[in-house]
């Protein structure tokens, strides 16, 4: 055991820092720091900058343009990027669909779609959840019926993150309603410009349009857009979920959040002293930091064990539960630190050209606190994760 970075790792960290210093657009970093909404262009531009440097796809093999970083390198990059207030890379094509295509897709699908994911030409979204199929994803009802060279798709998906920007959606659809639920599901790639698709916004409690409902009305999908075999989609979906969880601990984001809370707590005065010197607040902050230190090491231990790609199921579940609890606690601390200036509606407090209302760090704290309640809900809720952990630990106990 050695908790210190090697000389190579330190050199890599310096290289990442220099890159972020030089290439991360200042205006974008400012928006991220303030919690302002990013435009599609902001996100696409950062995607392109990373691609140009060859640092867009840490988990991809080199033959497809990936950087094949080891666990420590990924950790260093994530931590430095979060500290520099870099935007998150949109994961749907890059970290979710791509691993599935590489493992189960046809040569043609790989050659067509993978380069377009890297170049940013195709924006992907995820068609998993339905109004009646949340935690019980396998009960999904969106139907695909084979008719000659096409599938005809009818149904509805929901919680489709950034679907309003998407060119393509990867979808779980039911192709056989007469077998066990998990055995009648297929994995389809659907062009969002197909006739019969309608995207409707869902406005969340902070007024933000981030997720959507997607409706399919007799949408024709060429059979060559089926991934792998018909009715084997559940296997691919589970494979994808282990990759969705690669960065599930969110250590970098929590670290950056903690730094922000400290900055706020040094600036906020209460009872004639900075909030950071208040023993109650300081104790909460310290506990979050202590938990995060341990989580960072847990994360590195787990990721190091797996040669490439996703963490194994049990540990991924543990990282997700603990990681989201810590991040949500940090969001709560930020909201508290903001005091009365957490109250204004965020779009008024920090967006647009007006001066912020109150300190510029305050306006988004409450809405981020609420928005990040999603962390323990999506990608398999924390209840589902606990179920997985218990099942592995207690085996087949009845």
């Amino acid at each position: 055991m050695d908790l210190n970075y090697t000389e190579e790792e330190r050199a890599f960290r310096d290289e990442v820092r220099a890159f972020l210093e030089e290439k991360l657009p200042k205006a974008t970093a400012d928006k991220v720091r303030r919690g302002q909404e990013l435009t599609k262009e902001d996100m696409e531009s950062w995607h392109a900058i990373l691609n140009e440097r060859g640092w867009l796809a840490p988990n991809w093999p080199a033959e497809w343009g990936g950087c094949e970083w080891d666990a420590v390198q990924k950790h260093i990059f994530e931590e430095e990027a979060a500290r520099a207030s870099a935007p998150r890379v949109i994961p749907f094509g890059l970290s979710m669909l791509a691993p599935v295509l590489m493992k189960f897709g046809t040569e043609e699908q790989k050659r067509h779609f993978l380069p377009r994911i890297l170049s940013g030409e195709d924006w992907w979204c995820q068609g998993y959840s339905e109004p009646g199929a949340g935690s019980d994803l396998a009960s999904l009802k969106t139907r695909a019926v084979r008719e000659g060279d096409h599938y005809i798709v009818n149904g509805q998906k929901t919680w489709t993150t950034l679907g309003q920007y998407a060119d393509w959606i990867f979808c779980l659809v039911r192709t056989d309603p007469d077998v066990k639920q998990q055995e009648g599901i297929s994995f389809l790639l659907i062009d969002m410009n197909s006739p019969g698709i309608e995207v409707r916004p869902i406005i969340l409690l902070d007024g933000v349009h981030e997720v959507n409902e997607v409706f399919f009305d007799n949408v024709r999908v060429p059979v060559e857009n089926l991934v792998g075999e018909e009715n084997k989609g559940w296997t691919y979906a589970k494979y994808l979920l282990t990759h969705e969880r690669t960065n599930i601990a969110g250590v970098g984001a929590s670290q950056a959040g903690l730094d922000t809370v400290k900055r706020m707590a040094r600036a906020e005065m209460q009872g004639g002293r900075p909030l950071i010197a208040n023993p109650h607040f300081a104790a909460r902050l310290a506990q979050a930091e202590i938990d995060l230190k341990a989580l960072a090491t847990t994360n590195l231990r787990v990721v190091s064990q797996t040669a490439k790609g996703g963490a194994p199921g049990l540990e991924a579940s543990m990282l997700k539960v603990k990681g989201t609890i810590i991040r949500q606690e940090i969001n709560d601390l930020a909201r508290r630190a903001a005091g009365p200036y957490a109250m204004p509606f965020p779009s008024e407090a920090v967006e647009g050209d007006n001066d912020p209302i109150g300190p510029d760090y305050a306006g988004k704290t409450a809405s981020q606190y609420f928005n990040n309640r999603k962390l323990s809900i999506f990608g398999g809720s924390n209840e589902i994760q606990r179920g997985i952990i218990a099942k592995v630990s207690l085996g087949g106990m009845k």
Binding site: S129, G132, G134, S135, D136, S139, T158, W159, I202, I203, L204, L205, D206, G207, V211, E268, M269, Q270, G271, G272, L275, N278, H280, F281, R284, Q328, D332, R335, R336, A338, G339, P340, Y341, A342, M343, P344, F345, P346, E348, A349, I357, G358, A366, S367, Y369, F370, N371, R373, K374, S376, I377, F378, S381, N382, E383, R386, G387
Partner: protein
């Protein structure tokens, strides 16, 4: 001891609950939140008619209540329905300050308040004061003058207010309790400017700037602090009751959802993991009810006892409120975070209570200070 509501309070509670359940639907309320004024003049007038504001004042003052338990009954109901209209600001904070400090002319305004004909806002907190009640830097032109200059932060209901009640420092250091005076400032007073904005949990507020703004005295020079503390104590009882009402709605919605939402072929309320969490919410809710009763029952006690009980209630309500809001959202899943679903607003009302007149930590410290003081 007797834990029953009086007949009058029971009637008021029933009337309010029926009216709000019928009239103040999610759709109506979301429309009000999106409107330019952020509140409904019609609802305000009808609730005034039903006696909501009159219940906040004593008979002596022209009302028919005014005690802690009157406040808790009214605000629990307002909280259940997630009402965003500024009853706390006009009725409790400003109403009490005028009743406590006003001269005969100013007292006459209380009748108008009770009738629903006037809007008021308490412009007290300043941009760097956080929750420190005695930190006031807004100043006067000179001794004996009544022209004000300074800035006030997150003044709720400022845009709609016919008058602002503004605090200013007449003497002493920035956080002395002595030396603070109150003034009435008319909405069209010269040198008064507002930057208005909506709030995350509904309603509107403004950043208020005063520059050489003419004002009328409310009460004696430099001696307003005890009245401010008393008004804020009443507001804290109201806020605790309001959050408690909202917590009831959150748990009701969650229970209904657990009983109806089907996953894995059965209602999710049949899963023991969720049953135990629901049970914990119900246990904590009873604690919250008792905390509100403790605070409301001591609003008329001596200031130290009053403030100790109120700090205890706000701390407990803050902790339980966070638990109820977070667990209700979690047990619902994504639906609870959408604007169209009632719980989204209710959860915001619960959590954002923590940002008015002190959060959970502030009240914890206050409790420690008050309970260890000789």
């Amino acid at each position: 001891m007797n834990f029953e509501l009086t007949e009058e309070r029971q009637m008021l509670q029933d009337t309010l609950r029926r009216y709000l359940a019928d009239k103040y639907t999610t759709k109506v309320r979301n429309g009000i939140i999106d409107s330019e004024t952020g509140f409904s003049a019609e609802i305000w007038a009808e609730l005034a008619e039903l006696g909501v504001i009159g219940a906040l004042f004593t008979e002596e003052q022209g009302g028919f209540g005014g005690a802690g338990f009157d406040l808790s009954v009214v605000f629990e109901e307002l909280g259940r329905a997630g009402v965003v209209e500024p009853f706390l600001d006009t009725g409790v904070l400003c109403g009490r300050l005028i009743a406590a400090l006003g001269n005969a002319d100013q007292q006459a305004m209380i009748e108008e308040i009770i009738g629903g004909g006037v809007q008021l806002a308490f412009a007290h907190t300043e941009p760097t004061a956080r929750y420190d009640l005695s930190r006031v830097e807004t100043g006067l032109q000179g001794p004996g003058e009544t022209r004000l200059t300074g800035r006030k932060a997150v003044v709720i209901n400022a845009e709609a207010a016919d008058h602002l009640i503004v605090s200013a420092r007449e003497s002493g250091a920035v956080d002395d309790t002595d030396g603070i005076s109150l003034f009435l400032v008319a909405k069209d007073a010269p040198g008064l400017s507002l930057r208005g904005y909506p709030l995350l949990a509904g309603g509107r507020a403004a950043e208020v700037t005063l520059e050489d703004t003419p004002a009328t005295r409310l009460g004696a020079a430099g001696a307003a602090f005890p009245a401010i503390e008393a008004a804020v104590a009443a507001a804290n009882v109201a806020l605790a009751a309001e959050a408690f009402g909202a917590m009831n709605t959150a748990t009701d919605l969650t229970r209904d959802y657990l009983m109806t939402r089907q996953q894995f072929g059965r209602p999710i309320g049949t899963f023991q993991a969720l049953q135990h969490r629901m049970a914990d919410l119900l246990i904590e809710l009873e604690q919250a009810r008792s905390a509100v009763i403790n605070a409301a029952g001591h609003l008329e006690s001596d200031p130290r006892t009053r403030d100790l009980e109120i700090a205890a209630a706000r701390n407990l309500i803050g902790r339980v409120g966070r638990l109820v809001a977070e667990e209700s959202i979690q047990m619902h899943g994504g639906i609870a975070m959408t604007r169209e679903y009632e719980l989204a607003h209710i959860a915001k009302r619960i959590v954002m209570t923590d940002h008015r007149f002190g959060d959970t930590d502030y009240h914890l410290e206050r409790f420690i200070d008050l309970s260890t003081a000789a």
